[in-house]
């Protein structure tokens, strides 16, 4: 009870209120700009949050996390260009409602309402299920953690890449990066090339900033001024949704929120999958599926509720198992560890206050997002007019300053630039980033638990298959790896037979 009260009171500290609002504002602006993404905003701003002590930095990050997911809907609705991948499905009905039905305010109002309810739904599920899952996770031993790491990698490689082979290669590449540095058990340096910088291993944050933000900056350079949109004069006829709309979309919001939370809880998946799945399900179960795509309110509500609910879902595996649910929570993992908060089942036992503070911080961040969303819609609609030639230098500068802020080491900046160039090349070659990042994050955990398991079993590999949780996770991993291949094979056979 003390932890509960302490966590709630943390939310009402004036500095925490201020940074949560600032974080949500930064997140919404970053999410609204097509050249930026939620991950970029998180990775660039994360080092700066360390300037604040205690949980204040975490509050700011939660604000950015939640705000950016919502922010993408602004440009999706107004100019048919999702600000982030999470809002891609919102274009389908949001833009027609704004453009063909001339109701941009109504679309934004439904989007803001759905995002708020979805976000609060996800946070509530997190509050009730995380402690229960943590109790189960306490039964995890080394074989289970090894199997869990393999499971997380298998899911993300199957979903995130254009081909499973490239997804797996990306994951193995990430695992390989995690081996660089001094092996913690034997003390032997591996792949350091006699470099003092690499002795400590690959720096996670500069790599993340390079792969996501800097690489995107180079992509903006390649696009040039192609993506400059002529200044849209948007007239918003309304800010708040009317009662009829709310009544109409409420069942869709709750259904989509459940989908978003579940998708978020699966390691490696994210809002981009949640929004499409929710949209398709809403259409399937709708009484008027033919109206989807014409500016139908449910078509706006479903993806927006799902992508914000995902934020709470993604924190479930993060806090209970130490495995991020999506790339955004991967950044949160880094931030929490830097603040001395070690996610995992023991977090609930030893740092209960931290858990409740994060959960209430997420709830408060969603409230900040809602307040800013409803009050700032007119301002955010102007953000679409920021030209590339201002946006791109700002991205680069923030990358450098953010990278340096971590360890005050100039070598981190040089490393980040190299990572960014490599990231750009990988994007051009159709590799996606989530498998690489997850491989890097999980690499140490997978290797160490493999070693420990083999020591316990005296070198007998059957330890992974004789323990029920471990064997189930490994079986699911194999299925999730091969299922896309099998489905592709049957689909191509079917299309050939037609």
């Amino acid at each position: 009870m003390d932890n509960f009260i302490s966590a709630v009171s943390m939310v009402f500290v004036p500095l925490n209120i201020f940074v949560a609002f600032m974080g949500a504002l930064v997140g919404i602006l970053a999410g609204a700009m097509p050249g930026l993404s939620s991950i970029m905003a998180l990775t660039i701003m994360m080092p700066f949050t360390f300037a604040f002590g205690g949980y204040t930095g975490i509050f700011m990050l939660l604000g950015i996390y939640v705000g950016a997911i919502y922010g993408g809907s602004v440009t999706a609705i107004l100019i048919n260009t999702p600000g982030t991948a999470n809002s891609a499905a919102t274009c389908l009905d949001g833009y027609p409602m704004a453009n063909k039905l001339h109701q941009p305010g109504r679309a934004l109002a439904i989007s803001t309402t759905s995002s708020t309810i979805g976000g609060l739904f996800g946070a509530t599920v997190l509050f009730f299920t995380a402690p229960l899952l943590a109790k189960v996770a306490l039964k995890f031993g080394s074989p289970e953690y090894f199997a869990l790491g393999i499971f997380g990698l298998s899911i993300v490689t199957g979903i995130s890449s254009t081909t499973v082979t490239k997804g797996l290669l990306g994951a193995v590449f990430g695992l390989a990066l995690a081996t660089i540095g001094i092996d913690t058990i034997s003390g032997k340096p591996r792949f350091t090339a006699d470099s003092i910088y690499l002795l400590g291993g690959i720096s996670f944050i500069p790599l993340l900033i390079g792969l996501y933000a800097f690489a995107q900056g180079l992509a903006n350079i390649e696009e040039g001024t192609k993506n400059v949109v002529s200044k849209e004069k948007v007239k918003l006829e309304r800010i708040f949704p009317d009662r009829k709309d709310v009544k109409q979309v409420l069942p869709t919001i709750f259904g989509s929120s459940a989908i978003g939370t579940m998708i978020g809880a699966i390691p490696g998946t994210g809002g981009d999958i949640a929004c499409w799945l929710a949209y398709m399900q809403a259409k399937r179960f709708s009484r008027h599926p033919e109206k989807f795509g014409t500016g139908y309110p449910q078509g706006v509500a479903a993806p927006e509720a799902a992508n914000n609910a995902m934020s709470g879902g993604a924190l479930i595996p993060l806090l209970t198992l130490g495995i991020p649910g999506d790339a955004g929570s991967a950044v949160m993992l880094g931030a929490l560890m830097m603040q001395g908060i070690i996610p995992g089942p023991l977090l609930f036992k030893e740092q209960t206050g931290a858990v409740y503070t994060i959960i209430f911080g997420l709830i408060f961040a969603n409230i900040c997002m809602a307040i800013l969303g409803f009050s700032g819609i007119r301002l955010f609609s102007k953000i679409t007019n920021v030209p590339n030639m201002i946006l791109t230098p700002v991205i680069f500068v923030f990358c450098f300053v953010g990278t340096y802020a971590m360890n005050h080491d100039v070598n981190d900046i040089f490393f980040m630039i190299i990572a960014g160039i490599v990231g750009f090349i990988l994007i051009k070659l159709d590799f996606s980033m989530p498998p690489i990042i997850l491989g890097l994050i999980l690499g140490n955990m997978v290797e160490k638990n493999l070693q420990k398991s083999l020591v316990i079993s005296n070198g007998n590999l059957s330890i992974f298959f004789t323990r029920p949780i471990s064997s189930v996770l490994l079986i699911i991993s194999v299925v999730s790896l091969f299922l896309p291949l099998v489905m592709n094979y049957y689909q191509s056979r079917k299309s050939r037979n037609i």
Partner: protein, 149 residues
């Protein structure tokens, strides 16, 4: 031509071979004591296998799945930007962050095609001032100084 996927496959095969080679002298006392070399060797082997699969898939595929035009204007801008980043790194090392940023911002805007001097000056001064005030003065993050300045 499927040159890009073939090049990636060959490169990753070499990376896999490298991982196995550079860990060949590490201790291995059976599965009960795998040592520091087992995991990199395993990853290297998996990488070689996957690269081989990618190579075969590429060779039997009908079309090139990766289309990059390195001679396009966009890619030339990227190459130029990479060169500018090299110069930026040099300036950062010797002259510090603020001077390097004052070089980088107009260079980036010029690469994007805008050569209006007044506009460039305003944007450069604006961003540089923002960075200095917010990060150096307000947040106390600290910006790197160079060897000379």
């Amino acid at each position: 031509m499927k040159k890009y996927n073939i090049a990636v496959s060959i490169l990753t095969i070499f990376i896999g071979i490298g991982m196995i080679y550079f860990t060949k002298d590490f201790d291995f006392n059976g599965l009960k004591d795998i040592g520091p070399g087992f995991w990199p060797k395993l990853l290297g082997s998996i990488m070689i296998l996957l690269s081989g699969i990618l190579l075969i898939q590429t060779l039997i595929a009908e079309n090139e799945t990766v289309k990059i035009d390195i001679r396009s204007i966009g890619m030339k801008r990227v190459f130029l930007m990479v060169l500018i980043m090299g110069l930026f790194s040099f300036m950062l090392y010797f002259f510090g962050m603020m001077i390097a940023i004052i070089f980088l911002i107009p260079a980036t805007i010029a690469v994007l095609g805008d050569t209006r001097k007044i506009r460039i000056i305003i944007i450069t001064v604006g961003i540089s001032a923002f960075v200095y005030i917010v990060f150096e003065l307000l947040l106390n993050v600290g910006l790197p100084s160079g060897k000379i300045f």
